[in-house]
């Protein structure tokens, strides 16, 4: 089940997607962004440089929304067996975990 917080974070991720799609025409072929839209890996849309821009954009939007600084490229993210960058849903779950940890 997806809670309110997760809906908010998914919206942030979708907005970051849209921001990049505005920059590059080739990305506009992506008709819909949903929970299973891949972020990183062979089915993903972005090349590595745009992935950088995408992650920085997500971090910025989280910073603006929740007034906390998160790093999506820390050891924890990179060392997880199941990468948080698999799709929109897994990234949103990862971000919520970071936000919860920051609150404690």
């Amino acid at each position: 089940m997806i809670g309110n917080k997760q809906t908010e974070v998914i919206e942030i991720i979708k907005n970051a997607f849209e921001e990049i799609m505005e920059l590059k025409e080739e990305y506009r072929k992506l008709k819909e962004i949903n929970e299973i839209t891949p972020i990183f890996g062979k089915d993903a849309l972005f090349d590595s440089m745009d992935l950088v821009y995408f992650l920085v954009t997500v971090e910025e939007k989280v910073r603006n929304k929740y007034n906390v600084s998160i790093s999506l490229t820390d050891e924890k993210a990179m060392s997880q067996r199941n990468t948080p960058f698999k799709n929109v849903k897994t990234l949103s779950e990862y971000i919520i975990n970071i936000l919860e940890e920051k609150r404690e």
């Binding site: 440089m49 950088v52 821009y53 920085v56 954009t57 971090e59 910025e60 910073r63 007034n67 906390v68 600084s69 790093s71 490229t73």
Partner: protein
């Protein structure tokens, strides 16, 4: 968002960093400095953070505060550094680790975090401090020069990765300058070093800002991944 460019200078409590702070405040920049100790600079366009740049969390927190307050970061000058002058045989492993931690790791982390803001604003200038000890391969400076050598390679790779976002990254390698970093080196050794330079004198602060001014100016958008050594090395 304010109209003045925001500059972050690491290691600004003394020496080159301290000179740069005063120089760029005078030039109308908003200057943010950081060092392990406090500094006595009171100016509306200056803010100081006390931190160790090898402390990753502290660096992330500082850059977050800069973003929250100024909403921009235009120029980063990675000046903070420590040195140890000893023959390899007499250098403890901990000393080497410490030098690499502050000089290389610190530069890496702060550049990574600053880049995140610069990428979004699609403009930025990153200047790293290296040393003539790298091309001269000076005896007794193995750990210091090697850490700066790592910074030079880092500068070139960072330049490539950030080029799509109109961010340039360059390095300057000063020759010996009268700062605390060389205060314990015998005069004779400094003179020997000066004799290895094409222009045989100590470096001046003005020589350094001349190159930094060149790197950060708008017209230098086509200059990236370069290392400029002073004194004709």
């Amino acid at each position: 968002m304010n109209n003045k460019k925001v500059m972050l200078i690491t290691g600004d409590s003394r020496g080159i960093g301290s000179f740069l702070v005063h120089y760029y405040i005078e030039k109308g920049y908003i200057v943010i400095g950081c060092s392990r100790s406090n500094v006595n600079i009171l100016h509306n366009n200056y803010r100081h953070f006390i931190l160790d740049i090898s402390d990753e969390k502290a660096v992330i927190d500082m850059v977050f505060k800069i973003y929250r307050y100024y909403k921009r970061l235009d120029i980063l000058i990675n000046n903070a550094g420590i040195a140890s002058m000893n023959p390899i045989i007499l250098t403890p492993g901990e000393t080497v680790k410490n030098i690499f931690y502050v000089n290389f790791f610190g530069t890496f982390v702060i550049s990574r975090e600053a880049s995140k803001i610069m990428i979004k604003q699609r403009w930025g200038r990153i200047i790293n401090l290296t040393t003539v000890a790298v091309p001269l391969c000076l005896e007794g400076e193995a750990s210091y020069a090697s850490s700066k050598s790592a910074i030079e390679t880092f500068t070139k790779i960072l330049a490539k990765e950030l080029a799509p976002y109109e961010i340039t990254c360059n390095a300057i390698g000063p020759s010996p300058i009268q700062t605390d970093l060389i205060k314990n080196i015998p005069k004779e050794k400094i003179n020997n070093l000066i004799n290895k330079l094409t222009i045989k004198r100590l470096c001046k602060f003005e020589d350094i800002v001349n190159v930094i001014d060149f790197f950060i100016k708008e017209e230098s958008s086509y200059i990236t991944g370069q290392v400029i050594y002073l004194g004709g090395v």
